[in-house]
Amino acid sequence: MRTRKDAAMRAGTATGMALVLALGMAACGGDDDSDNPPETPAATGELVIWGDVNRAEVLNQFKAQIEADLGVTVTIEEIAEDQQTTFVTAAQQGAGPDVMIGAHDWIGNLVQNGTIDPVQLTEDQLAGFPQVAIDAVTFEGQTYGVPYALENLALIRNTDLAPEAPATVEELVATGQQLQDDGEVSEILCLQVGDQGDTYHIYPWYTSGGGYLFGTTPDGGWDPSDLGVGTDESKAAFERIRELGEAGVGALKRSISGDNAIPMFAEGECAFLVSGPWAVNDIKTAGINYDISPVPPFEDGEPAQPFVGAQVFFVASGGENKAVAQEFVVNYLTSPELAVALYEIEPRPPALTAALQQVQGEDPDLAKFLAAAENGVPMPSIPEMAAIWGPFGTAEAAIVGGADVDEAVDAAAEAISEQIG
């Protein structure tokens, strides 16, 4: 036992020595001349970035470059699931990262938990982004984070089956039905609904039918006290969706879900697919000839507005290296180099206009997706949006299945307003 204790003591001393050595080395590192090439490990600052798996992977390929440019040690960690909750929980415990990558619609919740800081972008920096991207990261008049990629829904069609882009929903359905009658396809349209509905994918037609989710405040923000679900407009919109559903023409089906919509299109089971940039890879792999156009509106309806989502770099309030984080997010990410590089690794439309212009020559799909975003609105980032998804989707699924519109919409409206409280 004595020897054990001694061993432990030695181990403890050794640890202490190692610590002293490390600190000493760090101090020496700090003494390096400032004109040293940044490649040398003079970096003593640190930057911890969290993202989901894809983002982390992409950034990891860029790690050396960022380290060289910023002169700090960069650690990139990936959170497989529940990134937002994990980040909020970790940040609150003081164990969070310096920079978080996430979707812009988290902002409301992140702010209500005090986990992210606003960033100060100059006029020039702001002008580098399309308005919709800036709107997406603006919350209560402040800019929270820098967007780097945008994504939104569009209509993707199989050009061998449907050479012309339909201008209206009615045209789309007519073409789809024709192809179905001819035995070319088995489904009129692939738009994911699923048993629980899908608010995101039905939203363009909900707006085209005249519906809205939240009113807007005078300064352009969302107004949670003005709930659009349950209004006559929303019921009218759902009537039109019902006509497209299983009790109507059968263009919308609950059996088409996020699991099978893209594969079915890729296998030629349907000529039309409502989806986003993430679908393109599979379609290319399958060798389908395709084209991309905006999601069409109803013939006599309002414009069909897809949600525009932005991927954003946030500066964490609780980070230990906030100045470095700000430097990275505000001054480094607003230049097109990284945005282009990120695009090259994962082809999502860059939010930065300059970067987009650089890359859209090689990829015509980008401009088409962007054109489809013209009518789009940023997905509401207020925390109240969380109460929408469930009940709205349930109502949508019920109505697509043929349920009574008034009953389903009223129930959804009641559930949502109770949740918002």
Partner: protein, 285 residues
């Protein structure tokens, strides 16, 4: 001849039929995964069980583009250590619960059962808080370390497994250890020399159960392991399908199949202990 065949059918043949049917039920969804794994499109396509093509692309991509091998090694390490330790801890307790009588025995056993009935996902927030502190003090057992995760899993080592082992110990006649005690053996000697060898089958079962449960555990590991190099299979693989709207499903399916291999091997290895561990002579004492 036909009489013998009839007897064979009554004794053995029907068992084959039932077993094949049961395997059909067991493998039905797994065939689906196999189909997705060799489908070059790599999607969870529900349109058919026959893939549109066959290739090993998904496996190649899995092994080259992701840290699958690393995750695999991590999982094996964590699951092996955790299951060995958990089995030992639970058999210690089971021995006491089965062979000794002391105050609080029944209450203790009941408490073991009840504590595990609390909905786990809420406790995640608390575990996070705990390990934030632990990481500050002792990084060696903090976040992103296998040691910390194993310790965390061992928190549940007492519980159902103890019950399982205790139930088995109860069926071993008391005369065996009583005679040893009379012969002058200490309680530790009785436990290590006599009881442990007798309970190998159930130790093997418990080890397998813990091994599988650890490999499949996701909720805690997801929060606990954030560095790619420290991830386990489930966390790493979940990342393949999370957020990418089914684009990686082929690779994921390939990974799912590969994940099952060690479990099957461990089962294969433990099978003989499970089935032949008890010799009749030992039981009769």
């Amino acid at each position: 001849m036909s009489g013998a065949r009839l007897a064979w059918w009554r004794e053995v043949g029907w068992r084959h039929i039932v077993a094949v049917l049961a395997i059909g039920f067991a493998l039905f969804p797994i065939v689906f995964v196999v189909s997705a794994a060799i489908n070059p499109l790599g999607t969870l396509s529900s349109t058919g069980i026959v893939p549109t093509g066959a290739s090993g692309d998904n496996f190649v991509e899995l092994l080259t583009d992701t840290s699958f091998v690393r995750w695999f090694v991590n999982s094996m390490l964590i699951a092996s250590v955790a299951s060995a330790a958990a089995v030992f801890i639970s058999v210690l307790a089971a021995y006491v619960f089965s062979r000794m009588r002391f105050r609080g025995r029944r209450a203790g056993m009941l408490a073991l059962l009840l504590i595990q009935m609390f909905p786990q996902f809420l406790a995640i927030v608390t575990l996070f808080l705990m390990f934030t502190t632990i990481t500050d003090y002792w990084p060696a057992i903090g976040f992103n370390t296998p040691t910390g995760l194993i310790l965390l899993y061992l928190g549940g080592a007492l519980g159902v497994n103890t019950w399982l082992t205790k139930g088995f110990l109860d069926t071993i006649p008391k005369e065996i250890d009583e005679s040893a005690t009379v012969d002058g053996a200490s309680h530790a000697q009785v436990f290590f020399r006599i009881m442990l060898p007798l309970v190998t089958p159930i130790l093997a079962v418990t080890a397998l159960l813990v091994f599988i449960a650890t490999i499949n555990e996701f909720l805690i590991a997801n929060v606990f392991l954030t560095r790619d190099s420290s991830k386990t299979l489930t966390v790493g693989m979940y990342g393949l399908i999370a957020g990418q709207r089914n684009a990686n499903f082929g690779i994921f399916a390939a990974g799912t199949l590969l994940t099952a291999i060690p479990t099957v091997l461990v089962f294969q290895f433990l099978q003989r202990y499970i089935v032949h561990g008890l010799t009749a002579g030992a039981v009769k004492g």
